[in-house]
Symmetry: C2
Subunit: 125 residues, 2 copies
DNA sequence: CGGTATCCGCGAGGATACTG
DNA sequence: CAGTATCCTCGCGGATACCG
């Protein structure tokens, strides 16, 4: 690693700072999970209900990755029936501004996307 | 579509606004491409050089998707040797705040990620 | 309730070669 | 220079079944 960081601030094996970020939140469901954890901690099946498209398996996997990366904390209550709560860690909370920005953008322009895609799909005929 | 938007502002077939956003910029290289297009338009091989990990094929594919979604514009100069420039559209520029936020986060915390991953990898032994 | 375990298809994405 | 075209692999992610 002798190169003097071409143009971005190269760190941690990424060629560009946004690459690191997308590596963390780029999973299919991660940003959505984080979105739902912003306000308050949630139980596993709560998240499942909040995210209609996700399967149990995928929710588990994505949560495990977020846990590994130090973004969410998994609290297990030793009782029957079991109870597990997920919440953002302090580190995870540093992502909130990004999620908020993504939420705002999505609310403003989600409609335009379907529009643009329909247009280009129509042109293909 | 009769449901009254559970909790997020449901639009365009997404259950959550951030889902729409990640659908646009969630591709493996899209956010990095956008990052490099923020300041000024770039030629194809310029982008290749700026993004060491990307293959020619993937760069093309990701650019085509961004073009389809109305995020980038592709300007072809009819000459030999060919010259093609990519730049953000006005719509694409609405994503700049998100990219900036991702860049800032990446610069601040990219190091912590490798750290967290190394730790959890070490625990697995 | 909150998960694993297993099987499997499909498509994202890499490698290589060729082209206008 | 800026792409297609083709082939191939790998692992994401769905479906289903079972467990503490």
């Amino acid at each position: 690693m002798e190169k003097h960081a071409a143009d971005c601030g190269t760190q941690g094996g990424y060629s560009c700072p946004v690459e690191a970020t997308i590596d963390i939140i780029g999973g299919k469901w991660k940003s959505v999970i984080l979105f739902h954890l912003i306000d308050e901690k949630k139980r596993f099946n709560e998240l499942r209900r909040l995210i209609p498209g996700v399967t149990q398996r995928m929710l588990t996997l994505q949560l495990r990755e977020l846990e590994r990366d130090g973004i969410v904390h998994r609290e297990i209550y030793k009782q029957v029936p079991p109870k597990v709560e997920y919440r953002l860690t302090a580190f995870g909370e540093t992502l909130i501004p990004i999620i908020h920005q993504m939420m705002n953008w999505g609310m403003s322009y989600a409609a335009k996307i379907s529009e643009a895609r329909n247009r280009s799909a129509a042109e293909k005929l």
